[in-house]
Symmetry: D2
Subunit: 148 residues, 4 copies
């Protein structure tokens, strides 16, 4: 596949997935960038994501990272799911913080893949580091109706 075609495929896959991803939408995420094996997502920490001390619940740090991982591993045209993930919490995020998660493919082998995701504050400080394990189901992401 020509590089331009690979980028276009990645974008069309992302658009199709995003349209159906109520969860990421409901969390106020924005898909900022997608390319083959890569995706960047932004999210602001809301008041329903924090505990009593105003600190973001770890699950929402996982949520933004997991979504970036999901978009990155679904850029090749075949439906791919998360088999598992490992996350390390580096520093906390607080109410109102703007977070950015950047996912990059590390390696693919057979139907499996590894993706590294870094969640950062807008100023670059690392909030969390996630490594996701993907498994490709093999069925197509796009249908005849997902654009021409």
């Amino acid at each position: 596949m020509a590089p331009d075609d690979a980028v276009e495929l990645a974008r069309r896959c992302a658009a199709a997935l995003w349209a159906g991803d109520r969860a990421s939408q409901a969390l106020g995420m924005r898909l900022e960038h997608v390319a083959p094996g890569r995706a960047t997502i932004a999210m602001r920490v809301r008041d329903d994501m924090v505990n009593g001390h105003g600190v973001c619940h770890g699950a929402f740090l996982v949520a933004i990272a997991d979504s970036a991982f999901a978009f990155a591993c679904n850029t090749y045209g075949e439906a791919t799911v998360a088999a598992g993930l490992e996350v390390t919490f580096v520093t906390s995020a607080r109410l109102g913080d703007d977070l950015v998660a950047e996912a990059r493919e590390r390696v693919r082998y057979g139907r499996s893949g590894l993706y590294d995701v870094t969640v950062r504050h807008i100023d670059g400080r690392v909030v969390a580091e996630l490594r996701g394990r993907s498994y490709c189901l093999g069925r197509p992401i796009l249908t005849a109706t997902d654009g021409s």
Copy 2:
């Protein structure tokens, strides 16, 4: 500490944390059981937790497991945070499914601890297995106002 006192301390810590945990409340979680080093949480998969195929976003499986982990590791009176976690997704959950996450302490050493959490369907089938790494901050969870 006498066993009864340890159970009472666990309950008071959980009550104090739950009161401030807007995130777990907003996700519709119910804290069903707490004991020293253990906690059980229930949650129903809502329509804002699923993707276009009606399958629960992995981050919400992590959310229920992470909350059970958090309550389990905060039963000894000292504020304890998640340092990281590893999760394996075993089967999917769908819109309307009732999930139960049961966290058990595996080992504590120094300020660190490991907690195993199993997320199950109500019929017992395993949905996800999480292992959480905790770190104790050392400051008290309860204040003079958290009950007598």
Copy 3:
């Protein structure tokens, strides 16, 4: 399969694997117990396993745990390999220490499985906690020559 047959199958699989496992033998491991989904292995920390301070290199703690994991997940008659693992080092082991690794199956699903392994000192203190991810290749472990 009757329980007795499952235990007998586990033992025959272990015997066949052990015969070819030069690595575990060369590390001085002893297979102490095997049952369906379970295995226990013992090993003494030798002087070629330690660093200059007499502390066992983490890789040998992984080695005993990984071997226990391998024997535990190969008890059902089909060749099964490690897809990955996560380990937490709890305390150190030193030259001459006798270690015991006990592996237990946590869950199997499709061709995948999770196994928890605890490495302990002989007095019960935890040295390391490992969680292994297995993948079943499907081909038989035993051949016509592996006993009657």
Copy 4:
């Protein structure tokens, strides 16, 4: 610290650690490169590292990766240990294969750090991906006798 001084410190730390690391030496490892937060180690798969099928035991893939991780995280002058690690096995290695493990620091925060290690065949194919979690003990690696 000037960049040259940081590189010199890294080399002196590595030399001091290597001198005492009987385990890495006994496994036939060679420390090929070290720099602040980075290390590269080579190792050939020997006949006491394989099982009956000539496939390298996973623990030795962890061993080379763990050693690269250890040298990379001990380049700043303070003794640092492995708190845990996660590894994914990508492809197998066989008797006689030459392996190279390259460790790079991902992030440091407080006394903790994350290091990514890729183990490759000499032709570049990935064998395993490891992420190590380090903890700095704070005591100096070098003593007055470790060079001038």
